[in-house]
């Protein structure tokens, strides 16, 4: 009897205990299978390149991570434009979530590139055009994340970061075309014109497999990261509501305590020696009380 009643009373399924859903589970499983196949092809089945030798295997990581990073930064720019237009929390959080994942993938791109450079050029880093513009792009998005970490109102944070997000994306074509515009060490561009046109057979398959797998990982990460950002905003609201309720409770308690105290000894004391002192003594006390309430609200935000 009890079971029947509880089933009838709760037709809504229980809320998830995390950021997972059916879509993310499918994406996650597909990503894991993809990673396993990519490892097999990238490190075992794919043949070494006639010119690059075994180092082509680093490019199976380098090209997909930079592609995912570029996509992430473009999504950040689109989200930033949409935020400035619609002023919707969705676009702001989407832009920020995408930027964070983009920074991760871009850092891995730089690391992989440095390892490839050490083998091919003999050094990890050279201040040549592609690498220099890449460093600038990376620092710009680090700045974007730093700007979002500054404690301020949600609207100000969204506006500032949206402006940076739009300005930063302009650097991507510059990084991409740096190998054409200036003479440098970096090889010519290999993405946005498919993969390397000289690739064939298992090399080509592995390159596209890498791109597909990292796009799946990116999509999986973006959904989860967006939901975390969404939850963080809701948690802030919960904290703010709790702080307000606590403050109201304190105010009610203070009011009732003062009412009882006013009715007795204070009335006689105030009119005599404490009269002039009350104003000066109570004002700083009230100010400090206001500040503590403000700090509570600020902390909750």
């Amino acid at each position: 009897m009890t079971t029947t009643t509880s089933r009838a009373a709760s037709p809504v399924p229980a809320a998830p205990t995390g950021t997972g859903s059916r879509v993310t589970r499918i994406l996650g499983i597909a990503s894991l299978i993809g990673v396993a196949v990519l490892v097999l092809y990238g490190l075992r089945i794919s043949k070494e390149d006639a010119q690059l030798g075994e180092t082509i295997r680093i490019l199976y990581m380098h090209v997909p991570t930079v592609s995912a990073a570029y996509l992430a930064f473009v999504i950040t720019a689109v989200g930033s434009v949409m935020y400035l237009w619609k002023r919707s929390e969705f676009w702001d959080l989407l832009a920020a979530s995408s930027a964070e994942i983009g920074v991760l993938f871009f850092a891995l791109t730089i690391l992989n590139g440095m390892l490839w450079g050490k083998i091919t050029w003999g050094v990890f880093w050279r201040w040549e055009p592609r690498l220099t513009t890449t460093a600038v792009l990376f620092l710009t998005y680090l700045g974007y994340l730093a700007a979002r970490a500054v404690p301020t109102s949600t609207r100000t944070r969204g506006t500032i970061s949206a402006v940076i997000g739009i300005m930063a994306v302009v650097n991507i074509p510059i990084v991409h075309k740096a190998v054409d515009w200036w003479r440098g060490l970096h090889q010519e561009k290999t993405i946005f014109g498919t993969v390397d046109p000289d690739m064939k057979g298992t090399q080509l398959f592995t390159a596209y497999l890498g791109l597909t797998v990292f796009m799946l990982i990116f999509a999986w990460l973006l959904i989860h990261r967006f939901r975390v950002a969404w939850l963080a905003e809701r948690a802030n609201d919960v904290g703010l509501d709790a702080a307000l309720a606590e403050r109201r409770a304190e105010g009610t308690a203070d009011g009732s305590a003062n009412e009882t105290a006013d009715g007795s000894a204070n009335e006689t004391a105030d009119s005599s020696a404490n009269g002039p002192a009350d104003g000066s003594a109570n004002e700083p006390a009230n100010e400090s009380a206001d500040e503590s309430a403000g700090a509570g609200l600020g902390g909750a935000r």
Binding site: A14, A15, P16, T17, G18, T19, G20, S21, V23, V35, V39, G42, L43, G53, E54, T55, R57, I58, M61, H62, T65, I101, L104, A107, L108, L111, N112, L115, W116, K118, I119, I217, W220, L221, H224, R225, R227, V228, L231, A232, R234, A235, V238, G239
Partner: protein
């Protein structure tokens, strides 16, 4: 170091960093889910 050492560093670093970040995001999501009311965390 041989070429293969650099190749393995690249692959291991990429998947380790991505995996670590994924784990961080998942754990943070679970932690926040405990604070946020159920009606505000229903996903599509």
């Amino acid at each position: 170091m041989s070429d293969w050492a650099y190749i393995l560093i690249a692959w291991i670093a990429t998947f380790t960093a991505t995996g670590a970040y994924a784990l961080y995001v998942i754990r943070r999501g679970r932690k926040l889910s405990r604070i946020v009311p159920p009606e505000q965390r229903r996903w599509m």
